[in-house]
Amino acid sequence: MRTELTSEERAVYEWQLWVDDFGEKGQLALRNASVLVSRCGGLGGPVAYELAAAGVGKLILAHEGNVEYSDLNRQLLMTQDWVGKPRIESAKRRLQELNPRLEVEAHNVNVNEENAAELVGAADLIIDCAPMFEERFAMNRQAVLQRKPIIECAMYDLEASITTIIPGQTPCLACVVPSVPPAWERQFPVIGAVSGAVGCMAVMEAVKVLAGFGKPLLGRMIHFDLRSASFSEFQIERDSDCAVCGSL
């Protein structure tokens, strides 16, 4: 574990070291942290990019498949010259161009029931950017079992929602969404700036939780609709019968 920033790190992060309640202590907390981002597409791409810029020490990325033309309106870590090649390689390359101090552990696989324990176990915090509820439920189960904080963010059309989960303290994903929604479809309308907006909010939640300052979205969900530029905050409740966290 690092106990001091290098002179290069002090120079790179100078403007955020000036942030009240964050400072060098907060920066060191980020430097010593590992974050799992699943996946690194429209939502996870901006998340990973902002985490890299903020100075998180290690990113664990899980995303299967090759870049497609239809990724490029929102998947900011992908480039047109990389169409047909693995997304995860494009993501790693672009993140390390931005921050050569960043360690990237890149997995060309999506999170599933078989690998969730190991991937979650290697991280201090998880940001769920995955499209499939089965994948999200697998991460949620492991986050609860291993008592790891997990940021849940999601988007659709010009809407997005976000909450922060601390197992045993806040509702988990299964408290809020107990089963796969029948209306959900893998492909859906979205403008890239919507995923970027909620992705940046997710990174701020991660920075606050890791650095231990501010007021994270615990037991609260923000939903916004950029069609009308309206934001709503809701109190969300733990489900005492939750199959995942009800016994905590």
Binding site: G41, M155, V180, P182, W184, V190, S228, F234
Partner: protein
């Protein structure tokens, strides 16, 4: 006294019904399940498929908010005149 319930539709439900806000009027305060059934009837088959299951019960995956708070799962509170019911269809990343 008339009981007017304000509805906010989000996600796939908003897409299905083509609007984000709606209103229902009842002769008296109603239970949440009655309001959802009335919304399904008012907005047609696409809304019904999202709001209700094959048995006509509330879809389990819906996230329901009255005012600024989530409705506890399994509860069916009475909605008074002026209540705002936000119906959220869970969304994801991608």
């Amino acid at each position: 006294m008339l009981c007017k319930i304000h509805l906010v539709y989000t996600g796939q439900l908003r897409s299905a019904v083509g609007m984000s806000e709606d209103a229902l009027e009842f002769a008296q305060p109603v239970r949440l399940s009655e309001a959802l059934t009335a919304a399904a009837e008012k907005r047609g088959a696409a809304a019904r498929r999202i709001l209700l299951n094959e048995d006509g019960k509330i879809q389990r995956a819906l996230v329901l908010m009255v005012g600024g708070a989530q409705v506890p799962r399994g509860s069916d509170p009475v909605l008074e005149n002026g209540a705002q019911l936000t119906i959220m269809t869970p969304i994801s990343g991608g």
